[in-house]
């Protein structure tokens, strides 16, 4: 029962990005002010710290049809709350390993440390991630079909 990877080119991936308020959200703003473009299908949700991202949010995003989820936070050691991203780092490592263990494509989830000064890095990461998701194709394995086909 393997899911075939159709390479239809007009597939527009939906990517949810959780950005921590102090570093990566500021990095995203800096990418904006320096006019560094990245695909429009990346949508950013602001959270106080990367440690606020609960695995439930990530699974909910996939359930509702997201094709990729990326969590951005401050570089370990610079966290505004001093230890937030350390906890996030451990939790996300275990979550990604569990999703991979369940057979979900590895590239669909990612963690990236972006400081407030790294606007360039933010936009390259988003471009790169969008490309990977585009290659992986639509998320068929971790998807709630009721949310998709329910059209009257």
């Amino acid at each position: 029962m393997s899911i075939e990877k159709t390479e239809d080119s007009n597939f527009e991936p939906l990517i949810v990005a959780f950005c921590c308020n102090w570093c990566s959200y500021a990095g995203a703003d800096l990418a904006g002010t320096s006019r560094l473009s990245y695909p429009a299908n990346v949508k950013i949700i602001r959270v106080p710290c990367s440690c606020r991202v609960n695995p439930m949010f990530i699974l909910r995003a996939f359930q509702r049809g997201a094709d990729g989820v990326i969590i951005c936070g401050c570089h370990p050691g610079d966290c505004h709350y001093s230890t937030g991203n350390y906890y996030a780092r451990r939790r996300m490592t275990l979550l990604f390993s569990m999703l991979d263990y369940l057979g979900i494509e590895r590239g669909r989830t990612r963690v990236e440390w972006v400081s407030a000064a790294e606007g360039v890095k933010f936009s390259t990461v988003m471009n790169e991630f969008s490309k990977t998701i585009h290659e992986l194709g639509e998320n068929k394995k971790l998807r709630d079909l009721r949310c998709k086909e329910f059209l009257d």
């Binding site: 509702r64 709630d144 009721r146 329910f150 059209l151 009257d152």
Partner: protein, 345 residues
């Protein structure tokens, strides 16, 4: 009475599944459950009974009822129930077949549950008599003859021959459509079948639970049983999971819930368990706060409340699933034995 040799069964199955979905006990990932028959599927007619009972085919664990779309203050109703198409369920044991009758007493009673009724009309039940009952079986206690199962069509497997006898008019009509695959059974076969039934009956006599007595469980005993102090001790091990209710072929409680799919609201029905703590929870309190009361409700319903409403028919068919699968091995047999004994003895 027809017969067919067991090595032509695959042929029989493929012809049945030609124009109707065919479900039967099939092993998948090491677990036997009722699944749709395909050529490559591993058929397991020898398994005593499946953990998830065939009730799931008539009263599925979750099914859509209706959907709504909300726009501002207006609501539009969308009927998107899962349409049921004709199907045959093969290999149903006597106890499960009896459980369908008990479910009928609930769902087909006025006001009729149309979801259940549609599936019941579309379904043809082909039962298969047991040949090797296990120690957990006690269907005989509830007057169910394991060697003569009910259902639309009864079948027996003796050595390498399958005997096929339709019991109801629906069964008759169905057998007509596939008559050419069978040969009619002669006198010798009747004899072989009768002796096979006697052997199985002898085994049933030897089952440890066959002499379980149900006297003392009637509507007059409601108060006496309800206020018995034994419930406290019986329920102290119960962890309040839903295993016994979800694998029980006669449990019929369900919950109705709304799910916001983002496009609209999907109202669905799903199995619910009286053992769950939020089963009777209301906005301002819960009549059954502790596990003792919930535990008591389950067995009182099966052994006293249901028979009071349905002239003596118990809501249990002795299939033994809860005896085998309860995580802490507390089940209806222990309750009957503990409660049945007269207080003063």
């Amino acid at each position: 009475m027809y017969k067919i040799s067991t090595d032509h069964l695959t042929e029989l199955f493929s012809s049945i599944s030609h124009d109707r979905a065919l479900y039967m006990p099939i092993e998948k990932n090491g677990q036997v459950q009722f699944d749709r028959w395909m050529e490559d599927k591993k058929v397991r007619l020898d398994a005593l009974n499946t953990v998830k009972s065939p009730k799931d085919l008539f009263f599925p664990q979750s099914e859509n009822i209706v959907a709504f779309k909300i726009k501002g203050k207006n609501i539009s109703i969308i009927e998107n129930r899962d349409e049921s198409e004709p199907f045959v369920v093969f290999g149903v044991r006597a106890c499960d077949a009896a459980s369908f009758d008990i479910l009928d007493m609930v769902f087909l009673q006025d006001p009729v549950d149309t979801y259940y009724k549609a599936r019941r009309d579309n379904g043809i039940v082909v039962t298969l008599a047991c040949s090797e009952p296990e120690e957990t079986c006690f269907c005989s206690v509830f007057g169910i003859d394991a060697t003569n199962p009910s259902g639309d069509i009864a079948t027996w497997i003796v050595d390498d021959m399958l005997y096929w006898e339709s019991l109801t008019e629906k069964g008759e009509r169905f057998t007509e459509t596939i008559k050419d695959l069978f040969e009619s059974a002669d006198f010798l076969d009747e004899e072989a079948l009768k002796s096979h039934k006697e052997d199985v009956e002898k085994i049933i006599e030897k089952l440890p639970l066959h002499d379980l007595s149900l006297d003392g469980f009637n509507s007059e005993a409601m108060d006496e049983k309800f206020n018995s102090p034994k419930w406290e001790e019986l329920s102290e091990a119960c962890i309040g999971c839903g295993t016994c209710t979800f694998i029980c072929p006669t449990c019929q409680c369900y919950d109705i819930r709304d799910y916001d799919t983002g496009q609209g609201i999907q109202r669905f029905r799903c199995w619910d368990s009286c053992m769950y703590s939020d089963f009777t929870r209301m906005a301002h309190g819960n009549p059954r706060t502790s596990q003792v009361e919930r535990f008591r409700q389950r067995f009182m319903h099966k052994l006293i409340y249901f028979p009071t409403n349905n002239d003596g028919v118990y809501s249990c068919v002795g299939c033994g699933r809860c005896v085998a699968k309860c995580p802490v091995s507390m089940n209806i047999v222990k309750v009957i034995k503990a409660m049945g004994v007269d207080e003063n003895v």
